[in-house]
């Protein structure tokens, strides 16, 4: 097994691969991250059958926690397989924080959380804000500390999809991009390394101050979201709310009670950023 270890926020991963290429890509993209001795999770990229190591190589997504019906990916998408497997470990195994499927950015020690379905633009928005005076905390999972209620950063590689790739390339031409992964199950994907401050300060969280439900592709609008609806939507956005039991309920209740929330519609990145700034000034 070729091996690479990486620390992302509080979680440490050991990634083993039957092939060299995905490990080299990971090592390149994660080169500014710490490499831990102890790891929380093991991820394995292995051929689906022994023949598939060489012949039309096919990567099975494996590790400590697995889904029985996870579809394999071609070796050209090995980096995506590794990232998906790391997400899977968090979603199925992480119990130290309440996990929300959401993105987050920080300013002045306070945190903006954005959540929504895939395609809502929460990931792209967090990446854009990350180069507009905010600190990027993560684009996939928001970790809520059950003791302090704070958001703990989890700044893994940003996963850009389809038209977001070009948008990000023009916004941040100097950022470090991974290979273009064309024709994945989620369309074209390209990973980008988070800004330097996001990695350097990944041990430092902040108190949540505003929750947004962005929606891309609709005329600009802002709508209040009642706490009951927010609570229900966040239980659905959480991968471990039920497993955490009472601690999950207390953490989520505190979050919903203390953080104002709004749904925003937008049609372009600039429009969204202007909306976010306005709401932040008024509410946070």
């Amino acid at each position: 097994m070729h091996e690479f270890r990486v620390q992302v926020g509080p979680a440490a991963f050991r990634i083993g691969s039957a092939w060299r290429a995905p490990i080299d890509q990971l090592a390149h993209l994660y080169r500014d991250y710490p490499q831990p001795d102890f790891t929380d999770f093991t991820v394995r990229l292995e051929p689906t059958t022994w023949l598939r190591r060489w012949l039309r190589p096919s990567v099975a997504i494996g590790g400590d926690y697995m889904l029985p019906d996870a579809a394999p990916l071609p070796l050209a998408q090995g980096l995506l397989a590794a990232e998906m497997a790391m997400n899977l470990q968090m979603a199925l195994g992480w119990r130290r924080h309440l996990l929300l499927h959401a993105s987050a950015v920080e300013r002045d020690g306070r945190v903006l959380v954005m959540t929504g379905q895939s395609g809502s633009g929460k990931s792209t928005l967090s990446a854009l804000l990350g180069s507009e005076g905010w600190r990027f905390l993560g684009d996939e999972f928001v970790l809520l500390d059950p003791v302090t209620g704070n958001v703990v950063p989890f700044p893994r590689l940003i996963s850009l999809k389809n038209e977001a790739i070009a948008a990000m390339q023009s916004a941040q031409p100097d950022a470090r991009f991974g290979p273009l992964l064309a024709g994945t199950p989620k369309g074209d994907i390209r990973h980008v390394v988070p800004p330097a401050d996001a990695i350097a300060q990944m041990g430092q969280g902040g108190a949540p101050a505003l929750l947004l439900f962005p929606r891309y592709g609709y005329p600009g609008a802002v709508r209040e979201v009642a706490p009951g609806e927010t609570f229900m939507r966040l239980t659905q956005a959480s991968t471990n709310y039920v497993a955490l039991g009472e601690a999950g309920f207390i953490t989520l209740t505190r979050f919903v009670k203390s953080v104002p929330s709004r749904a925003i519609d937008y049609q372009s990145g600039d429009e969204a950023i202007a909306l976010v700034e306005k709401l932040w000034e008024r509410l946070a």
């Binding site: 097994m1 292995e46 119990r95 497993a243």
Partner: protein
């Protein structure tokens, strides 16, 4: 890196063996434990050890997970109890849910998936109907599979609850009907004991976890309307049958740990002779004796002199049980294959096996 799962066996048997582990050793141990569904058990065993802070965090997480699984398992058992409230016969909890509901050591930290229950074979259609009425539905709509289960297996085709997405296996005996060994399911049901809990409307979900195990006064001495568990000797017989007389030893280290815990907890001078008799009654002497020997060999279970010994086949079982590497990957593919073939051989006569595989192959 040439470690096998003996590392995990050692840690479970004697937690002090983990004191010499470095970061790499811990990483490998935890991967193995997760792959074998034993990380919650390991977390329980290591409670008294001082471990590196990073490891302590992972073990705390494993305990949260085990608590969650136990809560869900007991809740699911209570849902089945309510669905079967109108059924007059005994409903016996099996495996993990039974251990947790009875407060046995085997349940501590144990991972639990599906709910397994045992009922009388004559009552299967009644039980099936009651479950279907309460929201369970068939997982396998395939007519061949369905007929196969009904004609040859020891359980109904698996049912899944459409809202809670949880499976229930309804057993009427503990080995497939086609297997050579024929355990006496009627005797098992006969000796099963009611759990000290009656439940009922108003008991509420919170009381379920405590309720199933709490020593509340028994409102119904016959145990009517309550869930049951197998008698201690039958519990061991079932666990041993499951491990060595059925299946390919997948998850075997966990099953053997169950057996270790059961034997350690039940062990009295009277227990061992009656275990021998009971195993004989169920035609399970060989698997039970092997289970006792291997539990002693791997986990250090205290057993009487006359149960000790060594069979020349045992080493293959040990090799199969510990066939896992530091990445959590299955190893020893050839031995695994042999045990896989053996599992089919145990389950059905050759001609029938050929027909079964032929049909399955044609269906792709």
């Amino acid at each position: 890196m040439s470690r096998d799962a003996m590392l995990l066996v050692d840690a479970l048997r004697d937690p002090a063996t983990t004191r010499g582990l470095d970061a790499q050793g811990w990483t490998e141990l935890l991967s193995m434990a997760r792959a074998e569904q034993l990380v919650g058990t390991l977390a329980e065993r290591l409670k008294i050890e001082s471990v590196p802070p990073k490891v302590a965090e992972i073990l705390a997480e494993a305990r949260i997970n085990a608590d969650y699984q136990h809560r869900s398992a007991l809740w699911e058992a209570d849902c089945a109890r309510r669905a079967l409230a109108g059924y007059g016969g005994k409903v016996v909890l099996l495996k993990g849910t039974a251990y947790v509901a009875s407060g046995l050591k085997a349940g501590e930290g144990r991972s639990i998936g599906d709910l397994d229950i045992l009922v009388a074979r004559d009552d299967l259609s009644q039980v099936e109907e009651a479950l279907l009425d309460s929201g369970w539905e068939w997982v396998k709509p395939d007519p061949y599979d369905d007929a196969y289960y009904r004609d040859h297996m020891h359980e109904l085709p698996p049912l899944i609850h459409k809202e809670r997405d949880r499976m229930i296996d309804v057993h009427h005996t503990i080995l497939p009907l086609t297997a050579r060994r024929r355990p006496d399911a009627v005797a098992m049901l006969g000796r099963s004991k009611p759990l000290p809990f009656r439940g009922g409307v108003g008991a509420g979900p919170v009381s379920v976890a405590q309720g199933l195990t709490s020593p509340t006064p028994d409102p119904s001495p016959e145990g009517e309307g309550r869930l049951h568990t197998l008698a201690p000797t039958d519990m061991v017989c079932h666990s041993a049958a499951h491990l060595f007389a059925d299946g390919d030893l997948a998850g075997g280290l966990r099953n053997l740990w169950d057996i270790h815990c059961l034997l350690s907890e039940f062990s009295t001078p009277d227990f061992w002779p009656s275990l021998g008799e009971r195993a004989n009654l169920h035609q399970l002497s060989e698997p039970v004796e092997r289970a006792v020997r291997l539990a002693h060999q791997l986990y250090g279970t205290q057993i009487p002199q006359e149960w000790a010994g060594w069979d020349r086949q045992d080493k293959w079982y040990v090799a199969r049980l510990t066939a896992r590497d530091g990445w959590g990957r299955p190893t020893r593919q050839f031995i695994r294959l042999i045990f896989y073939i053996r599992s089919h051989w145990l389950r059905m006569p050759l001609l029938m096996l050929a027909r079964h595989l032929w049909v399955k192959w044609r269906k792709g």
